[in-house]
């Protein structure tokens, strides 16, 4: 049976006005049925179609994600390349002890935390602001062109971006030329560890801010134009409209992205740092991934890498659970 969209819409409007009338009449909101224990049998009977939609994805996750996870056991066993896939002998926490006792690892850990944290705090809000800025443009053509241009950095290959950064920050590069014009002496940015976080974050901003607005722009389209209309009628200026309509409209997206980013903030990009860093910058630039890469060249020790991977995973999981719980308490929205 085909259903006409407009018929559905019309019905929905009817439904909504009915509900509004009921509310105006002074009754409480129709209470949700009290959540009584629904047994699995009932749930399956009621929602079997929904569950059917779940089957394929769950099977996928089971086979392609959970099955290989068994391989993580090599963090506790000595794995020899070419030998048993699950490791040849049990060694317990040996590999964990190895990295816990390695001061270079902790330096890498701290750097990962710092760079990831700065990314989160500084880089996260910027796409939101840019999306709002785009939203305030009146000319549709300008808006579309500007948006497309802003996505370009996302497509630039990392090798080229790294080359560009190195060029810009070189002693005779644009930044130092600017400094000299203002009278100060040139700074060898890529040879002083204290400058690395700035360089890294700036290049991250440049590369990701445009692309990051896409989700927010998609979210902005879901805001009911009627709300703007209503606000305007109520006499709200554009500022207040932004505050009371736009921001709350994209709030769910913001919260989801924030939680996800908190959960994954320790997964600092490996390739870019590898291309940008050099030994002088190790104190601030060496992150866990690059540390593992250097150790790996010498030893090819899969077990060691897996142990560190497990450590990172547990941290990430804890972070996302915490962020989710806080979000539920504070804002009411959460991932689940």
């Amino acid at each position: 049976m085909s259903v006409n969209n407009s018929v559905v819409v019309a019905d929905a409007i009817e439904l909504r006005s009915e509900m509004e009338e009921r509310r105006e009449r002074g009754g409480e909101k129709p209470a949700r049925p009290r959540k009584h224990r629904v047994t699995w049998r009932k749930a399956l009977k009621r929602d079997w179609r929904l569950y059917s939609l779940l089957v394929l994805p769950l099977v996928f996750l089971l086979i392609f994600r959970y099955l290989p996870m068994a391989g993580n056991v090599i963090a506790f066993r000595r794995f020899r390349p070419g030998g048993n896939m699950f490791g040849d002998e049990w060694v317990g926490f040996r590999y964990f002890e190895l990295f816990v006792n390695d001061p270079t690892f902790w330096r890498a850990f701290w750097n990962t935390f710092m760079l990831g944290g700065l990314s989160l705090v500084i880089v996260f809000p910027l796409p939101i602001i840019l999306a709002l800025m785009f939203n305030e443009l009146r000319s549709q053509r300008f808006k579309r062109i500007a948006q497309s241009i802003s996505y370009l950095p996302h497509f630039m290959s990392i090798v080229i971006v790294a080359g560009m950064v190195l060029q810009l920050t070189s002693l005779r590069g644009s930044i130092n030329q600017g400094l000299e014009a203002f009278g100060s002496s040139p700074i060898p940015f890529m040879q002083l560890p204290q400058w690395f976080p700035t360089v890294y974050i700036t290049s991250e901003i440049w590369q990701t801010v445009g692309w990051g607005t896409i989700l927010y722009l998609a979210a902005l389209t879901t805001i009911d134009p009627q709300l703007y209309e209503a606000a305007r009628i109520d006499g709200a200026s554009r500022w207040r409209q932004i505050w009371h309509v736009t921001l709350p409209g994209i709030r769910p997206t913001m919260v989801v992205l924030l939680i996800l980013n908190i959960g994954t903030f320790m997964a600092v990009g490996f390739e870019k740092i590898l291309l940008l860093y050099n030994p002088l910058l190790y104190p601030t630039a060496d992150v866990i991934a690059t540390y593992l890469y250097r150790v790996g060249i010498i030893s090819s020790n899969f077990s060691y890498a897996t142990a560190i991977g497990l450590f990172e995973a547990i941290i990430g999981l804890t972070l996302i659970l915490t962020a989710n719980a806080i979000s539920r308490r504070a804002v009411g929205t959460s991932l689940w």
């Binding site: 896939m85 390695d102 040879q191 020790n301």
Partner: protein, 563 residues
């Protein structure tokens, strides 16, 4: 990014092992009563004879030095092939056709791209899925796979490879081979051999500027070179007399690797595991006085404004730009890069000229790095020992990679079809074919169209001095000959570690090496004053340097005692 794994692993072993090996093998041969095939008397196979029953299908009955290998029936070998974009694999290559026709050998090829070669190799071996022949493996890369038993112990089987043994004896490669031995006394990679090490890296200087200022293009010592740079600086105050490149993973890696032997130490790519043998025991390279001398020299260059301070960290592209545009008057180079520099300036229409100079001598003498005679080779997966064509495979590999005939074939091609030989034996490439800068502009390329001089089947472009140099441009020939008068340093004794020791040591090595790299750069730049050298050494000690040395020295002692 590439992994510049040029760290030759030093696995020292005593000569006593050789003698014992000879006695054992000789007695084993006598006792077993069978002569196998052509194995040389100086074999160092420690294990006894391998039983080839059932595994010698298609092998030749009589195979020795000077024989051309031909399988008695068609065989196919699995090959892990490194696909280089300069010569993408083609099914109709002459090399494949010739091998099939003349040797009765075809390959079942598993490819991996050059860009991910090492990672893919590591994965495939790690997962137990490796093809029979694993090509392009540098000595040192096989160590991680030894414990799992995935790789065949090469040393047990080289006794069945007559050309291999012949070259080892002729060129006195025992000590070099010992460097590769593991704790069990065996080595696991079949290295490529070089009769003599070939120099590749040096400085490229602006010969027009040098001549203009009356400077010799053959500075005898580094001090002389430094004076030359001072003169250049005076004449051209706005340019750097020297800039440098190849600092991707550490400061001035390529340059320090060829400069350091002249200072009595090793650095850059040559740093390896950071061990220097002082005659009685191992000391840590990064803490020695010789290393300090090297750094002091470079620090003085930066301090006087002779060396561009960005050299220790910059991108290669930036370095080349500086040299090509005249902001720097010399740069590190190898024999291929200099052509690129030259083409650039030629296209710009300037009168700039450049030459690659001989590396000068230093305070410790006129030296060349040790251990450069065993190079890039191949490994065999351990399950080939079960294959029925095992013996045939060994013979084939011996012929292709170690016999003079096979080496010439893999490098030059088929006589009459790709090259011709003069009356005095000089090889002349056919006019319509180009390779390595010979016959520029010719329509066909020996590598891309015929499959010869291919990194997978040609180990190191030659190996005998004669073959090695047969394809070089005259300029490079001059350079190589000039460099060959340098003294090649001796190898340290082997000190193979056990699996558990290696796990711990790799972390020490990594931390120490990072610290050395970081401080090398800092000292050179003047960020850290050389007065703080002692503080730096104490820092190294705090990073487990003594523990590391203890383990390594104990391993060396252990190996020496056992052999």
């Amino acid at each position: 990014m590439t992994q510049q794994i040029r760290e030759a692993r030093r696995r020292p072993v005593r000569r006593g092992a050789l003698f014992t090996g000879v006695v054992l093998t000789a007695s084993a041969l006598v006792l077993s009563g069978c002569g196998a095939d052509g194995g040389g008397g100086s074999a160092d196979g420690e294990s006894g004879d391998f039983d080839f029953t059932g595994k010698d299908v298609a092998a030749m009955e009589d195979y020795g030095v000077g024989d051309t290998f031909q399988a008695t029936e068609p065989v196919e070998f699995g090959l892990f092939y490194r696909d280089h974009p300069n010569y993408p694999l083609k099914d109709d290559w002459l090399i494949l056709e010739a091998l099939e026709e003349n040797q009765n050998v075809t390959f079942d090829i598993v490819s991996a791209p050059l860009s991910e070669w090492d990672q893919r190799k590591s994965l495939v071996i790690g997962a137990g899925d490796a093809p029979e022949i694993i090509s392009v493996t540098y000595p040192g890369q096989e160590v991680a796979f030894v414990a799992g038993g995935a790789i065949l112990p090469a040393s047990d089987f080289v006794q069945y490879m007559p050309n291999y043994m012949d070259k080892v004896e002729k060129w006195d490669l025992e000590a070099d081979l010992d460097q590769m031995r593991q704790e069990d006394g065996k080595y696991y990679v079949f290295p490529g051999f070089r009769e003599e090490p070939r120099a590749e890296y040096s400085f490229a200087v602006r010969s027009d500027v040098w001549e203009e200022l009356g400077l010799s293009l053959e500075p005898a010592t580094f001090d002389e070179l430094r004076d030359q740079l001072r003169t250049v600086k005076e004449a051209y105050p706005d340019a750097y007399p020297m800039t440098d490149r190849w600092s991707a993973n550490g400061p001035l890696e390529a340059t320090l690797s060829f400069v350091s032997p002249n200072f009595g130490t090793s650095a850059g790519w040559g740093y390896g595991e950071g061990l220097t043998w002082d005659g009685g025991e191992f000391v840590y390279t990064g803490a020695t006085d010789e290393y300090r001398d090297l750094i002091e020299f470079y620090a003085s260059l930066v301090e006087e404004g002779l060396l561009d301070p960005e050299s220790v960290t910059q991108d290669d592209d930036q370095a080349v730009q500086k040299f090509a545009s005249g902001s720097a008057m010399s740069i590190g180079t190898n024999d291929q890069e200099i052509v690129r520099y030259r083409t650039t300036v030629d296209e710009l229409g300037s009168d700039v000229e450049m030459t690659q100079i001989r590396v000068p001598a230093g305070p410790a003498g006129d030296n060349f790095q040790a251990g450069q005679r065993t190079v890039n080779g191949f490994m065999l997966s351990s399950d080939v020992a079960e294959s029925e064509n095992f013996l045939a495979m060994l013979q084939f590999l011996d012929w292709l990679y170690y016999s003079d005939e096979g080496l010439e074939f893999a490098k030059w091609g088929v006589e009459g079809e790709t090259y011709t030989k003069d009356a005095d034996g000089t090889r002349v490439l056919n006019e319509n074919i180009t390779v390595m800068g010979l016959n520029p502009g010719a329509p066909e390329n020996l590598q891309a169209d015929y499959g010869f001089s291919n990194g997978v089947w040609t180990l190191v472009h030659g190996s005998t001095v004669e073959l090695d140099r047969s394809m070089l441009r005259p300029e490079v020939l001059d350079f190589v000959e000039a460099m060959s008068t340098k003294k090649v340093l001796e190898l340290a004794p082997p000190a193979p570690l056990s699996e558990i020791e290696r796990e711990q040591v790799s972390l020490y090595q990594s931390a120490l090496k990072d610290h050395v790299s970081q401080n090398t750069a800092a000292f050179i730049l003047g960020q850290r004053s050389l007065d703080e050298w002692d503080a730096y050494v104490s820092e190294l000690e705090g990073m487990n340097m003594p523990q590391y040395l203890e383990l390594v020295n104990a391993a060396q002692q252990r190996y020496a005692d056992a052999n």
